[in-house]
Symmetry: C2
Subunit: 333 residues, 2 copies
């Protein structure tokens, strides 16, 4: 295992500490229990947004804490759900009296632990709602999931719901738009290489030099099939075709096209994939109104990519374009 780390058991703590130092203008790091919170939280009268999950998917979620997106992020150990305790603490820290929305990727541990934290928060008089993202079309159930996994669509849910909260929407309204984004989002990923969880020390699976895992999960869990390496355009279609059929997306739709790197893939390759994905959509009469290209939800150093489509409406576009000021996504202010 070759990584820029110290003791494997310290990777999350040290990384979050470095993150907090680097972005002290935007966020504050609490260590007992561990969570990341907006520097100006709680904001009176604003719905608070909390997300979290296992570490190793950076910049998700801590990189999206700030104006116009999340109020707090709760990092668990690598690929391991945070316990209810830090989720509860983060929920309390962002409660400005208007309630708190939990944005939870659909993994069994995350769902359970966020539910427990929500019950404890409710007992303390904080109104909590939860949106569970489940945009991955690759597999019905998985190693970590009953139902579909939450992947790239989560980033878009966090941005759009964050903008809704920032403009003053109520908890019901923010939850509704988060649900609407998730319902209109579909994703699928592939891996060229595995990744190594630091405390495991060995790659989580093996791929031959000419193999690609289609439908990979963000923890390296199996997808639909293992194929021989193909040209980029063919790989793009292997992801995009099942996505398009699933919602389905149709001629005349307006979409956000999100081409995401799994952590170890250079931007050059993501733009090559974006180019063909945009051309395929163009050919089907689907208008790419907004896009996002880069490493936004990753699996440590895994090489690979995922594609996410979100069918947009006018309100979603307005909220996507709204100002955001976080360590890893910022524009407009």
């Amino acid at each position: 295992m070759k990584k820029i780390i110290n003791d494997p058991k310290d990777v999350v703590g040290e990384s979050v500490d470095g993150f907090g130092r680097a972005h002290a203008d935007l966020v504050r790091v609490e260590t007992d229990p561990l969570y990341v919170v907006r520097a100006d939280a709680p904001i009176a009268g604003k719905v608070g947004l909390v997300s979290g999950g296992g570490s190793g998917h950076e910049p998700l979620h801590a990189g999206y804490v700030g104006f116009g997106m999340l109020d707090a992020a709760v990092p668990g150990a690598v690929f391991t759900s945070p316990t209810p305790d830090p989720i509860l603490a983060a929920t309390k820290a962002v409660d400005g009296g208007a309630g708190v929305l939990h944005i939870v990727k659909n993994y069994t541990g995350d769902v359970l632990n966020f539910e427990t934290a929500a019950e404890l928060a409710a007992a303390d008089g904080i109104e909590v709602k939860a949106v569970v993202t489940n945009d991955d079309v690759a597999v019905k159930d998985s190693l970590y999931t009953a139902g579909r996994r939450g992947v790239g669509g989560t980033v878009i849910v966090e941005k759009i719901a964050g903008a809704a909260a920032e403009r003053g929407d109520s908890l019901d309204e923010v939850a509704a738009i988060a649900e609407r984004v998730n319902a209109n989002a579909r994703s699928m990923g592939l891996a060229l290489t595995p990744c190594t969880v630091p405390h495991a020390g060995e790659p989580s699976f093996e791929l031959a030099d000419d193999e690609v895992e289609i439908g990979i999960g963000i923890h390296g869990e199996p997808g639909r099939e293992r194929i021989k390496l193909e040209p980029a355009d063919a790989l793009v279609e292997r992801l995009l075709d099942p996505i398009l059929e699933d919602l389905p997306y149709a001629s005349g739709d307006r979409v956000l096209l999100f081409v995401n790197g799994m952590g170890g893939t250079p931007l050059m390759e993501l733009y090559i994939a974006y180019r063909h994905a945009a051309a395929v959509l163009d050919g089907r009469g689907i208008a790419v109104e907004r896009d996002l290209v880069g490493n936004y939800i990753t699996s440590l150093e895994m090489q690979g990519m995922s594609i996410t489509l979100v069918k947009l409406d006018d309100e979603m576009i307005e909220l996507w374009d709204a100002p955001v000021q976080t360590p890893s996504l910022r524009w407009g202010r």
Copy 2:
């Protein structure tokens, strides 16, 4: 070779095409010859900034084309300088009557080709000045260089000089501040893994499972020494100590600390490195006033990192903070 590409000879053209489609709100791609230019260029009365060099270092340089940074970027083949022809075309395209500054990383091919383009532009009545960045302390000369290599400091030069041009500084003034940033910048990098140039198909060098190349260049060219893998904190000191001694940086200095990934390194590792670098500087009485952490000047899928320090003054801080709106660096507007 496992990459998300089609024909290796098309990687630059397809990637730049995808980039142009994804960021059509900010940039325009010209293909004959190939360069990327601000959508609103030329801007009358503003000094134009042009950079470029071999591809494979994305987001450098095309990702920095936009308001407050570069007016154009000229991508060559992977790890190969662009020829004078596209540099000349980009120079003409951004000439708003106030002259053009070339920002050139110190590699023999880049320096020669930008010089030739500058002479041709001068013959056409365009005033051109050039700043050559050479911030890498690792080696005196290298495989591709007479003198020190231009690396991470280039990103900071482009941001600060771009802000100076945007506020209306003259060509002499923009050139002077670019020189001042370069003179106050020092960098050094390391690699955990090699990278593979697509048209070569094989890794550019080999590293054993427990080896690290200290002082690596951004094309995988050799550095100072090859060592056994060490903990992150020790690796940080192997880069930071020679940097600190070189300028030298001293107690009371204010700096920008830039921890850069080489393309394949997860953000988690970069924040672990940032954490210790910030602590070392703190221990020496050097104030980290600004920072940048992420993959900003890369070597394809190489795993590794570089550290850049820039000694700041009030004007440099003001220009760093000024609004910037490019595909890969944006804030404040």
